[in-house]
Symmetry: none
Subunit: 203 residues, 4 copies
């Protein structure tokens, strides 16, 4: 049964705050140890709860995992849509989108690692439909921008389809190596990726 949040506003705020903590902690711990290899005990210990306490916030361990993925994809998708809503030069849109995307990924390192690791789960069950849809729609947005870039400039290899795959690979892989506070800002990274794609037109 889905646990229901308190209705009194004061309690509700507290509840939401703690729920957020649960999700963020779980993202971090799952990323480190793996979803299956993390017991609910370890999880709740890292949160300062007793094992039973998790179930005040989530129906099950798996629903917690789903929430992690939702909290990764939904805001990204929403912001991407807002960004692309107004018309604009395709290459500028691409750059803006990748900047947004890289920043998001870097700020949600745990979520992202979990998202990648549990790919096989995400691709299968019914409970994962929303996550799958979000990803698919985000990829379509990216694909759309790339197509527009290509139509305008013919700059991309393979009419943009291979470029899409390459871009997805590059950006998603960022969480595996990027550490904040290093030589590069997320902006640098994003621009580096975009420059690679647009290199031909750059000269």
């Amino acid at each position: 049964m889905q646990p229901s949040p308190p209705t009194r506003p004061a309690l509700r705020a507290r509840y939401d705050r703690r729920r957020e903590l649960v999700v963020d902690t779980a993202a971090r711990v799952f990323a480190e140890r793996g979803y299956d290899q993390t017991s609910v005990q370890e999880l709740t210990e890292a949160m300062g709860l007793a094992s039973g306490g998790l179930y005040h916030y989530f129906e099950s361990k798996q629903h917690l995992l789903i929430e992690i993925c939702d909290q990764l994809m939904d805001p990204l998708l929403e912001q991407a849509r807002e960004l692309l809503a107004p018309d604009g030069a395709p290459d500028e849109q691409l750059r803006a989108l990748v900047r947004l995307w890289v920043a998001h990924v870097v700020e949600h390192r745990g979520h992202m690692l979990v998202f990648q690791q549990e790919r096989h789960l995400i691709e299968r069950g019914d409970e994962w439909r929303n996550v799958r849809d979000s990803r698919k729609q985000f990829e379509r947005l990216v694909a759309g921008v790339l197509e527009r870039v290509h139509r305008e400039d013919a700059v991309l290899p393979d009419d943009g389809r291979l470029a899409l795959a390459a871009l997805l690979g590059m950006v998603n892989h960022t969480v595996q190596w990027y550490r904040p506070g290093g030589r590069l800002t997320p902006l640098d990274v994003a621009d580096g990726y975009v420059d690679l794609l647009l290199a031909r037109s750059a000269r």
Copy 2:
């Protein structure tokens, strides 16, 4: 205890054949269902063995996983070394290396997906040292080629370091979307990646 293969040559051949089958099947099934979510029962069923039979070939479920990763990385590393042994033009070496790499990844789809999914395991235990080392050495080879390319042509962004990350991301991500028999051959894909990196010099 590590199971020992038969010493008599006739039996040994049979043993090796079946062991290979075990590894390949496991790579496929783990890739589909995830390592932790695949029970030894499911695994052995897919191999036509009874559950206990696995332990003639592997000490434990985890050692089977390690073998999958070894069979992915060791031959790749070895072939890459052979390829880079003779001197040659850096950009040609890069192209040859990426072609080899993409082909290997595509031919070991299951191994590769498992390798990515179980990152958190690989990065931790002592048993994983060899796998970690192989990966690190392979990445160094790639980094070395990219440095040479950059030194000769100054074509890469960020003196090659971001290019390395981008290349790793692109190539490794290939298994997530590439299907053999499609529009692109592995060669096309590899050349597409290399062209992205070398685009500036292409003009």
Copy 3:
């Protein structure tokens, strides 16, 4: 991981009571069926627990076995030390010690049978060090008393060393045949053993 008892006193009392029940039941059942031949299922069934419930009280089946042995040896050793602390006539000390010992053995029939049966386990692993030490120290206490008896009276065969072996054999063997409520009290038995040893001086 070693399970930790509750800290709240009310719960702690309950926990300790049940843990005691677990140990006593296990001693009885192990004595009857043998340690290895008793499954955790059978064990917990006899305790009114589900199979997983054992692990709230003990880290493993083996640690439960260790506890049985500790609960046999530690109090015996302690009481023997208290008994022998004050000076006294050696033969009277011997009699008091054997009375204590026989009573203890008879009251811990299960513990004692288990202790004898699993000798090969006790003598080997590192986890058994404390048990081995306790036994050794108790035997030293007995040996000491016998030496003093012999020094005073020269009554024992073989300057007490064979007498020690004989006494250990007699007393430990008691659990194999003694049934409470029979013709003999534990006191009778103890005195019978001591009389055998001191027989020469008795005339």
Copy 4:
């Protein structure tokens, strides 16, 4: 199915020799590691056989254990009967019997330790009837001698019944401490035990 020995005499001799080796090795290894904790693999390895090879000599692991006990008890019982067949002074018979018994026990250290450890098995199943009977009959022989000693001399405490228990304890316990080549011969040990029992008459 009970394996059947070869009928041709030449082969039969070889078979019997190896079967004997199997029993003796098993007695030693079971005594060290425990019956349940010794796998058939370990056992056969210690015998220079492959795991399947055991079943040429014994129907099952348990039948091997039974044989160990039979080879301990049957010759002892037989020799004891022969010894006691002619009339004789009770105390001399007692001494001769204990000498025989101690020698036997010392020469069958492994068998004896196994016999003691697996008491709970011996006392239960139907397959163990013969072993139980042998032990009971041997104890009756000992009891009979002790009774005769007592009737003649009234030297034993408790009309011989406690003396029986004590003697069984002492002698059986011998295997736990006696090491051949030490200060005492088995004869010394046996006489020591008997002297304890007969101490009163000794003066």
